[in-house]
Structures are given as C-alpha cells and as structure tokens.
C-alpha cells in the first residue's frame, strides 16, 4: 500500500471512530463517513468493501495501536509492579486522549459480536493486544512477581477492571479524573495478581 493510501485509510478509520462515538454505530452509514471526509462513496468502497469489514479493520487498528504501546512497556527493564502501573497509565491516557478508541472497543466490539463473527473469530482481531498482555503475565510469573494462575482469570481481572473504570468515566459517574485513580488501581491489580 502506498503511503498516501495508508494515510487515507487511517483518516477513514479515525473519522469513523469519531462518528460512531457521536452518532452511534448503527445509525452511521458508509455514505455518512464519505461525506464527512469529502470522499465519493465509490472511492470509500475502494478502501473498505463493507461496513462490517470496516468495523473489524477498526478493531484490528486499535489492537495494533494498544499492542505497540504495551510492547514498549514489556520491553522496558523494570519490575512487574512498575509495568502494571505503566499499563494502567497508558490505558487511561488512551481513554482520555482517544476516548473514541476505547469507546469503540467497549461499546461496539464487545457489545455487537454478530458484526464481527465472520472475520474476528475468538480474539483474532485483538491478537496484538492480547499477545502483549500474555507476555506481561508470562514474564511476571516467570520472574516470580506474579502468582501462577489461569490466563483468563488474570486477564478478566485486569481488563475488566480497566474497562469498567473507563465505562464509568464515559457515563460521567466518576467524580475524579481517571489519572487520579492510577495509583490505587495499580495497587489493587498488583495485589490481586502478585505472588504473595
């Protein structure tokens, strides 16, 4: 793909994310997105053949984005506790700076599985993200910081907690800024996962 085409593709994804967040997934159509980008609908279809394909490409895009951030943290030579804090921080930061991204993940990807059933089996579309979380867990256990347990019991605790906080934030229920919770949440997660 040419750089120009790649850039355009990202623009479409970004624009779609914003429209989905403000108008809702089902009420936003491909022509709506094209219009907002001043593109022809025909040209739009050169990039994404259908709305379902667009939907799964977006989740992959988010997974790669978050996966890369996590990879940087995983590759740092720091303790598992430090890594835990950085992951929480990164997640909340993304939720503040790119709320539409986390919003899409929580409200669209997880809530409309029928849209994703053909191209996003299992965790296929969030592979990059999940792989990095796995590495974070695996290395944590291996170095003795984290307690050995089933992957999903740990994964559910970690991601469910973070997702829940972002959801509360989105509903304007949280009295404080997300960043103000980083310390406590890190403490809680680490305490739940650590070896002793």
């Amino acid at each position: 793909m040419s750089d120009k085409k790649k850039l355009k593709r990202e623009q479409i994804i970004q624009c779609s994310l914003e429209l989905f967040a403000s108008r809702g997934f089902y009420s936003t159509t491909i022509p709506d997105i094209a219009k907002s980008l001043k593109m022809s609908v025909g040209n739009m279809y050169n990039y994404f053949k259908s709305k379902d394909i667009l939907a799964s490409e977006i989740i992959k895009y988010i997974s790669i984005y978050l996966g890369e951030k996590l990879k940087e943290i995983n590759e740092e030579d720091i303790s598992t506790k430090e890594k835990t804090r950085k992951i929480v921080e990164m997640y909340f930061k993304t939720a503040s700076l790119k709320p539409e991204m986390i919003d899409y993940f929580l409200r669209i990807y997880l809530s409309n599985r029928e849209v994703f059933k053909d191209s996003c089996e299992g965790m296929l579309c969030v592979n990059e993200f999940v792989t990095e979380i796995m590495i974070y867990f695996e290395e944590g256990v291996k170095c003795g910081d984290l307690r050995e347990q089933d992957f999903f019991s740990a994964f559910g605790l970690f991601m469910g907690y973070l997702g829940g906080m972002v959801f509360l934030k989105g509903e304007n229920i949280l009295p404080k800024d997300l960043n103000d919770y980083v310390e406590d949440i890190t403490f809680n997660i680490y305490k739940a996962l650590c070896a002793e």
């Binding site: 990879k71 089996e121 299992g122 965790m123 296929l124 592979n127 990059e128 999940v130 792989t131 990095e132 796995m134 590495i135 867990f137 695996e138 290395e139 944590g140 256990v141 291996k142 984290l146 050995e148 347990q149 089933d150 992957f151 999903f152 740990a154």
Partner: protein, 293 residues
Amino acid sequence: MKTKMKILWLSAISCNGNTHSFLNYPYMEQFLDDFEFIYHPVIDSKYLLQDIVSKQIACDILLIEGAISKEYKRADVSIVEIIEKYSKIVQKIVTVGTCATFGGIFRESGYENASGLHFDQEKKLEDFKYLLDKTISLSGCPIHPEILANTLYAIKKSATLRLDNFLRPKEFYAYTVHNGCTRNEYFEYKVDNHKFGELEGCMYYEHGCQAPFTHGSCNKILWNEVSSKTRVGLPCMGCTEPSFPRQNLFSTKKNMSIPESLPVGVNKRVYLTLAGITKAFKIDRLEKKLFDD
C-alpha cells in the same frame, strides 16, 4: 582380510540401555564385518575387562556409555584412568547416550561429581578439555542404534561431521523431535486437550511434550524402524538434552497458561501471535476423531 576398526565400548555409571539399544541395529552382520569390539558389555571380545584395564590394547575408537566420576571403578580401576589411557591412543571418542554426554540420570547417582565427559548438563568442564577435538557426542536416552552405527561409519570413512555446540553431529541433532511427528497438525492448529490413549491431539500444551525444543531425529529416523514416543502418544521427555531429566515430566510448565518452553528459536511474541490466530478457529477435521465416519 580387511582390517576392522577396533572399538572399545566402556561402560561407566550406566544402565546398559545404549548397549541394548545398539543390539537393535538391523545390519549387525555387516557392522561386525567392518568393526571389531576389543571389549563390549555383552558381545564376546578378544579381551577381558581385566586385560583392558591392566594393559593398553590397540584401539581406534573409544565409546563411553554412562556418567563419569573418578570414584567409579571398573575391575578396580577408576573409570577416569581408563578413559585417560585409551583417549591418548584412539582417533575418536564417542560419548554414547545422555549420561556420558551430559551426566543424565546418573549424574544424580551420588558419585562424586558425576557428569558427562565434557559437560555437566550445559556447563563445559575443564577436565578433559584437551580431548574436545577428538570427541563426538551422541546424546539420547538411549541412543538410537542407527545414529551410533552411522556415526561410527562416518569415522571409518573419515567423513567430516559438522557438530553443534555440544559436539553432536548436526545431521542428527539439527532437527527437533517435533519434525516428522504424526501429531504435527494438532500442534499447528492448537488442538491440545489431548487425553492419553488417543490417536488425536498434541501433548505439548498439557502433557509436557518437549519435542518442539528437543534436538533429535526420533521422528525422522524411527525407533526400531517402527514408531516414536510422540507418534504413539507419549510426550517427548527431552532425553537428548543437557537438562534431562527435567522435573515433572508429564506436565507442561506454564506461566499463566503460557508454556514456559517454546519451540526452539521461536520468539515468544511470534509464537503467541500464531497460537492466538490458530486458536481463534475451530477446524472440524482436527476436532473430530481421526477414524470417525
């Protein structure tokens, strides 16, 4: 009459498993035309063990089976002394089996510093360093007879064998035991949940199969010309490796469900990505019983 290459088969702290595995070599008649044992633990030889330890009998190849400790004696002579004496006169030394190569099971036998000839598990030893150029390691518990016989033929032919870091011929040890396993598809598509006693399923994830990170030709050169452990449904125990025997051999060491030992040379990120992709799909053919109608 053609001259036969002379071999001394010397057992140290061993179970004679390599001796008996070697007796399964299918072309024994030809082999015994080409080689002569000046001493062998089972096959009759011209000399007695007592002759071997008290004199210095002409010999071309020294085969050592079993873990080595200077405390261990054969016919009242320390095994180390016997090795020192014969290693000087032979062209090549072959450590046969994992005990003679890395220490293996009998590394734990309680003899002082029991180890392989050049290695104590992964650690390189100083003791016989001057023999490194002469030695070929054939690890495996036991050694496959063809691997031993053909290595001896290579020595006879003066063929150059490329060796790995543990002095093992790459022709046999560059492969993993996973290569050629009939359960490969189950590994590729992550169909584990293997219960013993079934033709289906991969033992890597649940039952401690070490084939993807064990160097050897078990599934390339079949055992007894018939099968292999993994083919029948028994996990590979990693018996060719310095770490043999690991602990808890029938279960896979996992950290939060992720296997600690991954296929050799495969980066964790690559492995998890591929595993994640294949796990997302359900392949009916592999989920079903192999012979289902």
